[in-house]
Amino acid sequence: MQLAVLSGFLLAALVPLLSSIADRRLGWLVALLPAALAVWFAGFLPEVMAGQTLVHEWAWIPGLDISLTFVLDGLSLLFALLITVIGTFVFLYASAYLAGHPDLTRFYVVLLAFMASMLGLVLSDSLITLFVFWELTSITSYLLIGFNHQDADARKAALQGLFVTVGGGLALLAGMVMLAQMSGSYSLQEILVQDGLSEHPLYLAALLCLLGGAFTKSAQFPFHFWLPNAMAAPTPVSSYLHSATMVKAGVYLLARLHPAMGGTEIWQLLLPLFGATTMFVGAFLAIRSTGVKKLLAYSTVMALGTLTLLLGIGTETAMIAFAAFLLGHSLYKGALFMVAGALDHSTGTKDVTRMGGLRKAMPVTAAAALVAGLSLAGLPPLFGFVAKELLFEAVLGGSTLLAYTVTLALASAMLVIAVAAIIALKPFYGALKETPHKPHEAAWPMLAGPVVLAALSLVFGVWPGLAGDLLVQAAASSVAGQPIQVHLYLWHGINAPLLMSLASLLVGALIFWRWDGFRQRLSVLDPMIARGPEAGYFKIMDGLVWIAAWQTRVLQNGSMRNYLSVILMTFVLLVGYTLLWRYQVHWNWDLDVRLHELVVVGLLVAAAGVACATASRLGAVASMGAVGFSVALIFVLFSAPDLGITQVLVETLTVILLVLVLFRLPAFVSLSTPRQRFRDAVVALLTGGLMTLLIMKTIDVQVFPSISEYMVEQSQPLAYGRNIVNVILVDFRALDTLGEIFVLALAAMGVYAMLKLHPGTEPGSNLRAGSLILPRREDDVADDQSKKDPSAVDEGRTS
């Protein structure tokens, strides 16, 4: 299963190679992978239907107890099938929708990487790997929303989505760490079978953090605003990430943790509250929109709210409704988004009020839209009807906030019927309207998705037992944490849910009939909506940019002196506090000092003194060199030849670099006032004094047995080397060294950029930090980073 999940990444790496070979058939070739994966996952259906959980283990980082173990149960399988099946059609769709786009290869690479990340997310057993995949979906989503990167709005929307979901991701990480502390394990399998997590003192904090992650990802109110903005992405992306799969990751996480974390009072209060609110807000904002994709996006917000609400209710019916609604929504919403893309592609407009009578020009699209729309509206004989009846039944059977949830569920159902009619009927029926392009039927790769997904809605609607047995029962059982018997029926008899459906149908039809007037009357509320959560987001971003500018001005003002004193004083305060208050300092003067050592030390101190006091640059350089060579001498005296050699070489190198810049440096004048010099002297003395104390303390106490003895002993037998320093560098602590050479490379790039790329000559170099995230242009970010301090080079010695 590891290969199955990671194959998306592998293929993504190969796509640039394939693109030159396969050329125009690349989309088909790429679509083969999700198709094959779908078949492969479907092969597990019999075992999962029988209630089994399949575990494929692989230790990834055994030292940290992080495994790449994948678990396939009902819930994961349902998600995996949705991801791969819809993925197949999305890749096909994209090959026609984006045909001839110059960046098509990049699109496939990112979309494949997304698919693999999403699969990893729903199959991971370890919380850590789940989190890694979670963040990968955020990043790939960011890249896909901003796919048309020349478009400033797309970039802004991409960043907004990234900030909201990654910000929530931070909360999620904290929640996961707490969860692991509560349960003593990072493995979901072990966490889920534990009892009594809800009595743990950390429960509330962990729950709130986890909800923070889930709610931002799944666009719950008040974080719902990023999702409609994400519609700046190409339509295949909207259909795949922002309706069928990624936005459901938050709901997936809640469903996954439901057996361990659910069922408490606070869970049953928060989830229905936020879920129901999101549901209504989504439906309400949908009816105000005229863009096809916005309509669909808001109705997705509504569906995500519904799923959260169902998880909050937590009864057996609610679990069944959850699984059914999840399946139903992915099928019809995936189809409708592809229809929306086909409409946009064919007519050249996204505005639903400008379309009409397209039935004749686009008969297949119209039929698919009708079926999927009926399913969205929740009308028989579509699977959406089954799901909606279950939803009503579950909501009526809830325990907390009953009046609130039932009212909002009914109101949302009314609005959603109108929304469905607007999408499925308005563009296709009535008088033919003039559109920017002459409408034509979409190419078949763009039709395959809507037709098959809509047909599945119909098949599962007519034979609800099929969906129930195949997918819903196992999924609902995993969410509930215990086996549930599921029997889905199209016809429930005349009962409360059916009456609610009838009522919502009538009102919904009325709203659709009077849509234009309805929308106009709603426009009274516009000022209020403009002050909604999105305005809060911009406020926060404003604040962030302000803080960044402020801290750049204060801490990173380009003066080396300033950096050094800030770093050193932080060190002195933190370490000094710990040293003096936690440990006692013993003055141990009983040291065995030889005369020649004293001479070297005397030389060192004298040279340092001269370096501070001298009035010529060459004098300063020479005396600093003397300091360096004295240190090298000390290294040699204490039998560390490698360090000595390195020190000498670094000193030499410093001279070389200095010679290169010597003639460019400004005159060697005193840049600081006596007061500043006094302050700097205090900082220097404090740091030096503290270091001395620290080293004496280190000699004094041995808290842990010294590791150097182990290294001395094991260097020859384990690493076949007699030079311990080198053995440590390239063997014992090779990972550190690897990190360090990467840091070296980064430093080289930084210096190169500073010297070679002059600001203002490259396109885009005048971009300001705030311009991408804020709606307004007049940001007053202090342009501090380009300020150069003439003394920076002078003091920037290598250590």
């Binding site: 076949y720 053995v727 080289a748």
Partner: protein
């Protein structure tokens, strides 16, 4: 910048540079048992190239090095990363050292190993980084 055309510097650079480079390779290879190793060797080699640069200028130094210093950094990182993978193939943790000693005539053994490959990576990365500094500084001087 220094005045070019100093005879002593020319001669010194021409004779010292190859010696320094050989010495750096010597340091690199002996590093595991005696003082030396990739980092020190890299600094010595960079010193050799820098001396050449002082004598003959950055153009000729680039020609001498054949590979752009920035590319050299990339090769260094690549060697470092490659050396980490043989362990994975053996099912051992990332970066576990692997040894393939090759006996040479005369009873000596050439200790081919992933730490050696890694050290070569460090060597190249250090040369690349220092020479990127030096060449960039020298060239910014000419503008």
């Amino acid at each position: 910048m220094m005045k070019p055309g100093t005879l002593i510097l020319y001669a010194a650079a021409r004779f010292l540079m190859p010696l320094q480079l050989m010495f750096s390779v010597f340091l690199l290879l002996r590093g595991h048992d005696e003082p030396g190793g990739g980092f020190i060797a890299g600094l010595v080699a960079a010193g050799a190239f820098s001396l050449y640069l002082f004598a003959f200028g950055s153009e000729l130094t680039r020609d001498l090095m054949r590979i752009d210093p920035r590319t050299l950094i990339g090769w260094g990182l690549l060697f470092g990363v490659i050396s980490a993978f043989p362990a994975l193939l053996q099912g051992q943790p990332f970066l576990t050292a692997q040894w393939w000693p090759i006996p040479l005539p005369g009873g000596v053994e050439f200790k081919l190993s992933t730490p050696l490959i890694f050290d070569i990576g460090v060597y190249l990365a250090v040369i690349g980084t220092v020479m990127t500094f030096v060449v960039a500084l020298a060239e910014s001087e000419q503008v």
